[in-house]
Symmetry: C2
Subunit: 457 residues, 2 copies
């Protein structure tokens, strides 16, 4: 993505597309108020910041709409620039007419995330905070919302930024030593530097480890239901979904795109992977033919392995579990064994299964609540992280590099490398840390980040 | 529709449903600021009207979102009540959390059009202006937008209201005469009353007549393309659509629900009726079997009757047109004859057709622009109305009754009926006029009107 001129005054529809009671069109940049004065029924030159005024938008003599205009004068605005927000009637025709009018008067349509980009470039937010906006908007569960909100309000990036500043001071001192290299002075206390490196290292490693959990919170927990055709997989899925699928949309009129079956339990979203290939197969789970379908469940974090208690002996089930675990369960996957149709057999007789899984009746909905509790606990057991959780792939990648980079600095110190080499290694760490907060950026980096934003944000 | 308590404080999402950069939640009623003070990070008691302030929405200790709050203090608001508008991040999760929170604090979800209803009940707008809001929001073409905007800004209802006031004065005078009936005085000048009745009558009849045009502007002009299977109907439709269908959505990212093929020409929307039954038939147009399909084109205002010039003689075509006109064209329908495939025959030889239709080549797109001009002119020729056009079925129905009612008053005066009977007839006219502006309303009437509004407006 090539950035367009940051000096332009930009405009975009900021509310969702389509028809509604009202729509909001945002205008930001140095020409904002000049443009508004050309199309608005009142002169806003003397209107103070953070005022809303009522008036009409006109294209020449034609009244396009009666609107409410909000005025934000730089630097006290989201972007740090002059901003006008036009709250108009939510007709798509009116939205288009107003956008066209603003464009005719010299604004241009904003690119994806361009308002947020400007907020970052004008120092209103650091990069990680800005990135959290997109996460916040797309959050669909309590957990995802909480993590994004925490990140937007500073989250770990303020801590990272503070640690980076401390390290920067050391780097400066070490670089200063180089100017006095013939005198063999040591301005930077090596013990303190080591302590700081340890501190950063600990923080970074904790953040790296939190990503597994954070990613789950943000994207939902992929769950696969695996079992022989008669085991009752779709009955189980329905039992899980029926009660809870409406939780996130219990307010009349809210809609969401459901691309897969999901439920939200205790604020955590669980996504059920389409394992149609396994559902439909007539092969039993140990056969070779089903391997292909199993590729799909490699994406799962939790696997529900479902057995039909009827007509299958305990030792057969145990053997199959053992085989499945060996062949198909990866290290980072959680396996939960479920023994279905507990309403049809004498559960008390199946003592060998008691400790390795849960007896359920998918059809009668029995023990489904227990299963839900287990699902939640398996996710939460992954970590005891507080709100400071990394959910962003980019941050995770950089943090891993930071950890390696710090190790390199430490190794260098152990090997008593020269100050100039040490300074270089520290600079590398500093650069990496700066990429998280945006203190160090490139156009490419920003382009990648903001391309994923929606227009109008 | 039963109205809910107008004393309640109501809340709703006012922007379109779904995910966007921002969403706006509106709260109106006497508890608005009390509720906001319970969930907002800042005390707004001292904040003046028409200010926007930044802060956080909290559910207990949990931060739901960073928002911008707009404050409107009664009576200077859309509804005339205290209003708060919460501009939050456009996550559906956040929208739901905030609405739930407001409801928990004592607000209730607004019914359809309930904000507009309150604006009417509190005297911020008359009824016809309020009704225009719904039309404005659903307007999709320049013409529909213009008519709705004119109506929202007062339009004919102010005139109606003024005429009604004049008539009301006469009614009072005539009722006063009744008190002095034994003295045989005449406070109400009968000549002036007759002049006023003529004035109202003229206005009302002009408005009644404008409805045909107004309805077309609001809902689009239904057009049917009729012709034998080989005449080139779908080629013609494509030729008409291809260039212009994108006109109303030329701004990137705007979408609209296209339920049928439509084009907008010169600001007027043309809707092509699905005449699939006719398109697919193998019968020629004069046969009996096709009659059923013709039921559909009764809904058309304009019929494009399409002939294939190839292999059909002029006299055959003329005969078919004559038959079609007689059997299938209603009085209020416009018939346009089109002779297709002008690229394949010698048009100069077809002198008999020259004056009764247009030679076109749907395939090569020839004369399609001329056809478009004809379509527009046929709609505009219906009337030379200015902006004061009736588009609302309810208004149209009442205006027709007003015309009849005035006639009754006039007849009464001609027959020199007694003052008390005359006063009764005038009261009837007054009541009808008052139903348009809302000076006279019933709960049923309001219920019907606002049930068609969207929630949040």
């Amino acid at each position: 993505m090539k950035f367009q001129n940051p000096e332009d005054t930009i405009c975009a529809l900021s509310t969702p597309q389509g028809m509604g009671a009202i729509a909001v069109i945002r205008l930001s940049g140095s020409d904002t108020f000049k443009i508004i004065n050309e199309v608005f029924s009142r002169d806003i030159t003397e209107i103070p910041s953070h005022k809303v005024i009522f008036g009409t938008i006109k294209d020449g003599e034609e009244i396009i709409d009666e609107i409410v205009l909000s005025i934000y004068r730089n630097p006290n605005s989201f972007t740090g620039e002059d901003i006008a927000e036009i709250s108009c009637h939510g007709s798509t025709y009116i939205q288009e007419r107003i956008l066209n009018l603003l464009i005719n008067k010299g604004a241009r349509l904003a690119g994806p995330g361009e308002f947020s980009l400007r907020a970052f470039l004008n120092g209103k937010m650091d990069l990680s905070q800005t990135e959290a906006i997109a996460d916040l908007i797309s959050s669909r569960s309590k957990a995802a919302h909480k993590v994004a909100m925490n990140q937007m309000r500073g989250g770990f990036s303020q801590e990272i930024s503070a640690l980076r500043q401390e390290l920067l001071n050391f780097a400066s001192l070490i670089e200063l030593e180089l100017d006095f290299s013939e005198e063999d002075v040591e301005f930077a206390d090596r013990k303190e530097l080591t302590d700081l490196l340890d501190k950063i290292d600990k923080k970074v490693n904790s953040l790296v480890a939190s990503f597994q959990y954070g990613n789950v919170l943000k994207s939902g927990v992929p769950v696969a239901i695996v079992g022989a055709p008669n085991a009752g997989k779709s009955t189980l899925l329905n039992a899980l979904l029926n009660e809870d699928r409406a939780i996130v949309s219990d307010i009349a009129g809210t809609t969401r795109d459901t691309v897969e079956d999901t439920i939200v339990l205790d604020g955590i979203e669980f996504r059920f992977i389409d394992t149609a290939g396994i559902r439909d197969t007539k092969d039993s789970i140990e056969t070779e033919g089903i391997r292909k379908a199993f590729e799909k469940i490699k994406k799962a974090r939790i696997i529900l392995l479902l057995f039909d208690l009827e007509g299958v002996r305990d030792d057969e089930i145990i053997e199959q579990i053992s085989l499945f675990e060996k062949k198909s369960v990866q290290e980072d996957q959680e396996l939960i064994c479920l023994f279905n149709k507990s309403d049809k057999v004498k559960v008390d007789d199946r003592v060998n299964l008691k400790d390795i899984g849960l007896f359920i009746s998918a059809k009668k909905g029995e023990e489904i609540d227990d299963l839900k509790k287990i699902l939640v606990s398996r996710v939460k057991s992954v970590s005891s992280y507080d709100d400071t959780v990394v959910t962003n792939v980019r941050h995770h990648e950089i943090l891993k590099k930071v950890a390696a980079s710090i190790q390199k600095v430490k190794d260098g110190m152990d090997q008593q490398i020269t100050g100039d080499l040490l300074a270089m290694d520290i600079r590398e760490t500093l650069n990496l840390l700066g990429e998280i907060t945006g203190e160090i950026t490139t156009d490419d980096l920003l382009g990648n980040i903001f391309a994923n934003f929606c227009i109008g944000k």
